[in-house]
């Protein structure tokens, strides 16, 4: 079962503490080493993002940045796991690391199964 997870937070939180970066690096390495992690990466900030929307039969384009305070995805990971619970556990581990290394940080991880279009 393939999953994609997004780590989401508000954009005004600043840079992560080095301890978290290090801990996350180790966690990712472990996930690559046990064969469950397929790919991971970061996403550009909303300042550089664009949304196009269809409403009232009109397509409109809006460029970032957007109103602050909204939780947005800052990074993603694609994993191959044997159950939904395993994907959730991987995500929970990420939040445990944030709790330990980034005092006051709040955010979420969105966990979605990927279905192939083909």
């Amino acid at each position: 079962m393939r999953y994609i997870t997004f780590v989401k937070m508000t954009e005004d939180v600043g840079d992560p503490p080095p301890a978290l970066v290090e801990a996350m690096g180790k966690e990712m390495q472990a996930a690559f080493a046990d064969g469950s992690m397929i790919e991971a990466g970061g996403l550009s900030g909303m300042r550089d993002s664009t949304e196009i929307r269809l409403a009232d039969a009109t397509i409109t384009q809006t460029d970032g940045p957007y109103a602050e305070g909204k939780e947005v995805a800052g990074g993603y990971a694609i994993t191959e796991v044997r159950s939904h619970e395993e994907a959730v556990e991987g995500a929970r581990r990420v939040l445990e690391l944030h709790l330990e290394h980034w005092p006051g940080w709040e955010g979420s991880v969105e966990i979605r199964q990927m279905f192939s279009s083909q």
Partner: protein, 413 residues
């Protein structure tokens, strides 16, 4: 207020840790069977306690400390094991690491030792595969039984017998060195490859593939590549499995009938796995350039990569593939390689070139691939009647129902 973790959630947490638990406990107790029991005990304790207490921040450390406590209790209670206790008590104390993660380097060696033991030459290959899936893959006996289409009890017996055979043969958890290490590593790789192939070209039953086995084998290959990163063949194995695994979805049509490589809808190939496979092959080739010897997995992966790089079947670089098969045939001769070499030469230089090779292959009793490939080459050469006869011969030999259907169709039946 969050809901307490479910049975499945706790099992998932445990499963993520199980290989490292079993591997570390096996080192401490020098008893794989006991190590597995202790890891199971830790799961039972988690199932009892976590619904109330929640999942601990570091579940690996929690499970490990419970298992170690159980180990010490057991040794104290069990008279027959007491003789070993003095020695083991020292080991267990020494292993009392407060931070499980801090012991990661240690753990990787433990996991590799466990893999060597599961693939020990004292065991027949199918027992090695079952034991590896159980102890290194962390699968339950039921899951392995389902994957191999046998009864739970049958698989349970196979695993127990394997453990008994290991104990009887005096096989030890060890880290072999030099040529012995290469030999044992080859055994481990062969088991991973065997598991993949069992899923990829299901030899029995109605299904053409059993993807779960392929996914497990791919996971094991990735693990192995991290455990032995200096070895090109291990990256070659990973590359081979990732690239072959990328075609899983394209290998059968909606009716469940197999689709051969050249007829596959390449849009259904998993590009993410192809990228990973090509990257792994790149690592293998880089190591090879620095002088590390390559073997059959790297060569096979290089061939698989030629297919993966071709956007359309007609773009396939068959001359390159034929050349790689020539190298493979010189270094690792055998009928399987010859059959594939015949296919490649047939595509690269015309069907007659392929037929010359296939006609020189000694017929292997009960093996359908020689007549199947001969049929294909004859068909391409426009020799329809001979082709139909070859396809009929092949259909009579295959044990796979789906494959039989396709062969009979090509025979015009």
């Amino acid at each position: 207020m969050t809901a307490p973790p479910t049975h499945d959630a706790i099992t998932a947490v445990w499963r993520r840790e199980s290989v490292r638990l079993v591997a570390a406990l096996a080192r401490m107790t020098r008893d794989v069977d006991l190590a597995e029991d202790l890891a199971q005990d830790a799961l039972v304790a988690a199932l009892e306690q976590w619904p109330d207490q929640g999942v601990p921040a570091n579940p690996g450390a929690w499970l490990m400390s419970v298992a170690k406590r159980r180990a010490i209790d057991q040794f104290r209670r069990n008279e027959t094991l007491r003789r070993r206790t003095a020695e083991l008590a020292h080991e267990l104390d020494e292993a009392e690491v407060p931070d499980f993660e801090a012991a990661v380097d240690h753990i990787e060696d433990d996991v590799l030792r466990l893999a060597f033991l599961c693939c020990h030459p004292a065991l027949p290959p199918e027992s090695r595969a079952a034991l590896t899936l159980r102890l290194v893959g962390g699968l339950t006996t039921q899951e392995i039984a389902r994957a191999y289409l046998v009864k739970d009890a049958t698989m349970g017996q196979r695993i127990s017998r394997a453990k008994r055979q290991l104990a009887d043969s005096g096989a030890k958890l060890e880290m072999p060195t030099g040529a012995e290490r290469q030999r044992r590593l080859a055994d481990v790789m062969a088991v991973v490859y065997l598991i993949f192939n069992e899923g990829y070209a299901a030899t029995g039953g109605d299904d053409w593939t059993r993807p779960d086995l392929c996914l497990e084998a791919m996971r094991l290959a990735r693990m192995l590549a991290h455990l032995v990163p200096e070895e090109p063949e291990v990256h070659g194995l990973q590359a081979l499995l990732e690239i072959q695994g990328s075609r899983l979805r394209a290998r059968y049509d909606e009716a469940g009938d197999p689709v051969l490589l050249e007829a596959q809808d390449r849009r259904r190939w998993d590009q993410l796995l192809i990228e990973r496979g090509l990257a792994a092959l790149g690592r293998a080739e880089e190591l090879a350039q620095r002088g590390a010897p390559v073997g059959s997995y790297v060569l096979q992966a290089a061939i698989a990569a030629c297919h993966a790089r071709a956007r359309r079947a007609e773009d396939t670089d068959w001359v390159e593939i034929a050349g790689l098969y020539d190298v493979l045939a010189r270094t690792f001769p055998g009928p399987v390689v010859e059959v594939n070499r015949a296919v490649a030469h047939g595509r690269a230089f015309g069907p007659e070139a392929g037929l010359t090779i296939i006609d020189a292959v000694d017929s292997v009793p009960g093996w359908h691939l020689v007549p199947a490939v001969r049929g294909d080459l004859l068909e391409r050469a426009g020799r329809q009647e001979e082709a139909a006869r070859a396809f009929r011969d092949a259909a009579a030999l295959t044990r796979n129902e789906a494959e039989r259907r396709i062969l009979l169709r090509r025979a015009g039946l």
